[in-house]
Symmetry: C2
Subunit: 182 residues, 2 copies
């Protein structure tokens, strides 16, 4: 059964992704079919709703790009870049929601900025673990480099309003080669 | 002499960078010390003001990172990454204003999105020209890769709310090495 809280979080995730953190409380409640009174019984304020909503939608974006079990570390890392190239082909794609929220809020102390920071570490940790499993000398550095490419590539697609071709995979592969992860 | 138009564009650039594209017309006019009537005589609407303001502040952000004349292509490219690492140490840094505006607007057809797209090409073209001058086989690919690192690194700093150390230079150097640009 879908609770009022679920409905609000789903509607907020959708609307925040499409319109940004400045969408109004009225619009959020209307999209969820929930009264403002109900919303304020569940969340202290709009900031708390944004944070809770991103806490749900952010990990979902990341999870959809991660590989299933199996495969070599190289295959598993390149899977992520192939997938992110694919998702940028969706005309509704607006980049990584965690990045978008942090960029929009411009306030490192906002509760949703903390959520973005926390969940953004998931992808970097995935890269680090694969690099470590492959015996790369500096897994932290490679993980940071791959994260730069991941976020730079999605940003490129948002700024240029066009899908990625194979540049993200090619760039990641170059960095894997350079780190000796073959 | 500072014109009303100049005052508005400067105030808007500052406020948009600090608060984002959803800042109100009242706040923009107040910050510039300009009446709303004057604003609407100069700009058709807020969207036109945002676009004109970014058309001024965006190139300034890029220009501050580009190297002075002289130096090898490798030195000139790495200068940009050293400089961007430095600017992220400013607590007021909120990333590249061109990227921020595109991410916030979520509308490729907005006039300011077109401005972001156009000026964002300046840095990529700088990388391409240096790569071509160095005789790299595929200057376009290297330019794209360096742009990913540039935008990924500034994004990393915004999301984590911390300055870059030497990761941007290190990653760019790895890609230059891989392309044979020594």
């Amino acid at each position: 059964m879908t609770t009022t809280r679920d409905r609000l979080l789903e509607a907020a995730a959708d609307l925040l992704y499409r319109e940004g953190v400045n969408v109004g409380v009225d619009a959020l409640c209307k999209a969820a079919g929930v009264s403002k009174r109900s919303m304020y019984l569940l969340f202290e304020d709009k900031d708390a709703l944004i944070a809770a909503s991103l806490d749900r939608s952010g990990p979902r974006y990341t999870a959809a790009l991660l590989p299933p079990g199996g495969g070599t570390p190289r295959e598993r890392v390149l899977h992520v870049f192939r997938r992110v190239q694919e998702v940028t082909a969706d005309p509704e794609h607006r980049g990584c929601p965690l990045v978008a929220t942090a960029v929009e809020l411009k306030d490192p102390l906002h509760p949703a900025s903390a959520v973005a920071r926390r969940h953004k570490a998931t992808m970097t940790e995935f890269f680090r673990a694969e690099a470590a499993a492959a015996g790369v000398p500096d897994p932290d550095l490679l993980a940071t480099q791959l994260t730069f490419v991941f976020d730079g590539a999605t940003t490129w697609s948002v700024v240029r309003a066009e899908p990625l071709a194979d540049q993200a995979v090619t760039t990641a592969a170059t960095l894997l080669d350079a780190a000796g992860l073959r």
